[in-house]
């Protein structure tokens, strides 16, 4: 059995004068890899490169050993790929079943009975088995997100690229989706971007933090979280020594980073703490880097 894998060597992408992704080297194996980063960090661009939706302007991408720049190999990749874009527009008047069935047709499910069974399977996986006949326009944002995820799951692809799959999905369904993705990741490469650090902590073995098109961190989630050990503490007031602090639901302030102080109440760091620490304590978003002229 061939192990699913993806590799990028110096892969980058520019849009005019803007560099969205700068020379990234990555190797991805079966399992769930989470992409974190501020808006404009290059997460969506990286996912589009992996999904063959966008060619790189520099470097090489290989998916399952195939070169997406060769048309026949690109088609070969697409036969083994599930992709959930950040935003999916749904044709007016479509039901959930009709939309997933349409994508299944494009994915070469030509036998109606088998195709309908597969559509039902993936709708069931995302918890929409009872809503197949409902018009997508009448669905909530979370339900629409699950419809777009369902089309990506068609055929249990060995490569699954998901751009913010849990945005707008309620906590109960997020737990269900985590279970589904964890099961798929036993044999498939699953790469997902998200702003939900708790999803990454709960689901991913590996996390990649992107910032201005560059990889700032690539490694196990536990190692990243460990970097914040002893650097997160609670206090009654925001600590000026901290890089970032905010008022929690208990009324106390959670302080992250900065100079380590004596006599404060340290707490177990979360992945979010570690992420903020890595980002230099700035929760503000940054824009993509301008290419030096």
């Amino acid at each position: 059995m061939v192990t699913a894998s993806i590799s990028l060597r110096g892969a980058g992408r520019t849009f005019g004068a803007t560099r969205a992704l700068a020379g990234v080297d990555l190797d991805l194996k079966p399992g769930v890899t989470g992409l974190l980063g501020p808006n404009g960090a290059g997460k969506t661009t990286l996912l589009r490169l992996l999904a063959t939706a966008l060619p790189p302007t520099q470097g090489k991408v290989r998916v399952l050993g195939l070169d997406p720049e060769v048309p026949a190999e690109r088609t070969g990749i697409r036969r083994q790929l599930g992709y959930q874009p950040q935003e999916v527009g749904f044709p007016r008047g479509f039901t959930a079943f009709a939309f997933v069935d349409y994508i299944a047709l494009l994915k070469e499910w030509t036998q109606p009975a088998a195709r309908h069974a597969e559509v039902r399977r993936v709708l069931d996986l995302v918890g929409l088995s009872d809503l197949g006949a409902k018009r997508i326009r009448a669905m909530s944002g979370g339900q629409r997100r699950r419809v777009s995820l369902a089309q990506a799951l068609l055929g249990s692809p060995p490569v699954l690229i998901l751009d913010e799959p849990t945005t707008g999905v309620d906590p109960e369904q997020r737990v269900v989706l985590r279970t589904v993705l964890a099961e798929i990741a036993r044999t498939s490469v699953v790469v997902l971007s998200t702003h939900q650090t708790e999803d990454v902590a709960a689901l991913c073995e590996r996390v990649i933090v992107l910032d201005r098109g560059r990889v700032r961190y690539d490694g196990p989630v536990t190692d990243l979280t460990g970097q914040a050990a002893g650097r997160v503490w609670l206090a009654d007031e925001p600590d000026p020594a901290a890089k970032v602090s905010w008022r929690t639901g208990t009324g106390r302030y959670r302080n992250v980073g900065g100079r380590v102080r004596d006599g404060v109440e340290y707490v177990e760091p979360s992945l979010e703490d570690a992420y903020l620490l890595l980002r230099g304590g700035s929760p503000e978003h940054e824009t993509a880097e301008e290419v030096a002229s």
């Binding site: 939706a53 966008l54 874009p85 999916v88 044709p91 039901t95 349409y102 994915k107 070469e108």
Partner: protein, 277 residues
Amino acid sequence: MTAWHLDDDALRRYVERTDSLAEGASVEQHLLACEPCRGRVTAAASVIEVSVIDFAAVWESTRDAVEVPRPSVFERLLRAAGLPAQEARLVAVASAFRGVWLVSVAAVLVFAALAAAIGHTRGLWLFLAVAPVVPCLVVAAGYDPRMDPALEPELVTPYPVLRLILLRTIAVLALAVPAVLLFGLVVPGVTAFAWLLPAVGFVAVVLAASTWVSPLRSAVAVSCAWLAAIWLLAGRSGSPDAVLQAPAQAGFLALAAASFSIFLVRRRQLAQLRPWR
């Protein structure tokens, strides 16, 4: 009580649900009045293999009836024309075939044709201006990311984008060109076929230009250029003959051939269709 009773074969077919609708209805009418036969049915049903009644299949067919979308009129027409069912579905899904869009296209054509039919010179110019650009606008709408919001997932499937676009283009032409020709028949003094070559030429230009910029932008640019040309011609000569005569028609044919050649050479660029282009 009736004088006759179900024979064994009819009873078996009824219990196993392999009878026809008419036979089943007849048997049920008989059962209402015949207690012995009701008893035989009960006895037969109690020993029948559960697998004979495939509940899963019944459930699947019920779900199919509820969930599987019924083909639109346009999709049925495509199937009737010989297009395989899956291809007909892919073509019919294009936003260009939504009813509102079709009605608006038809309304524009009707308006232009009526304006021409009343014999007013400006009406004739109006029809000449509108008729050839309608097919290219509809073609562009058939695969422009703005009009087809599902395009991003569509692009990363193994189905060839080129095939999808050409299928939709042919379907649009099959729909729009006869409409243009039909309305052209009511225009006095000119042959209806005179509009065909400009329309085909502009569609080819849109396809070729779509390898650089978005289809809708291409179509709008082509339409504006054509309207400007018509405006200038109307101002100079006052007669549309220059557009309708052989040299101009040959020019449209050459434009179509050249544009389609460019489209074929650059077709791979279509795979990079993006809303921001």
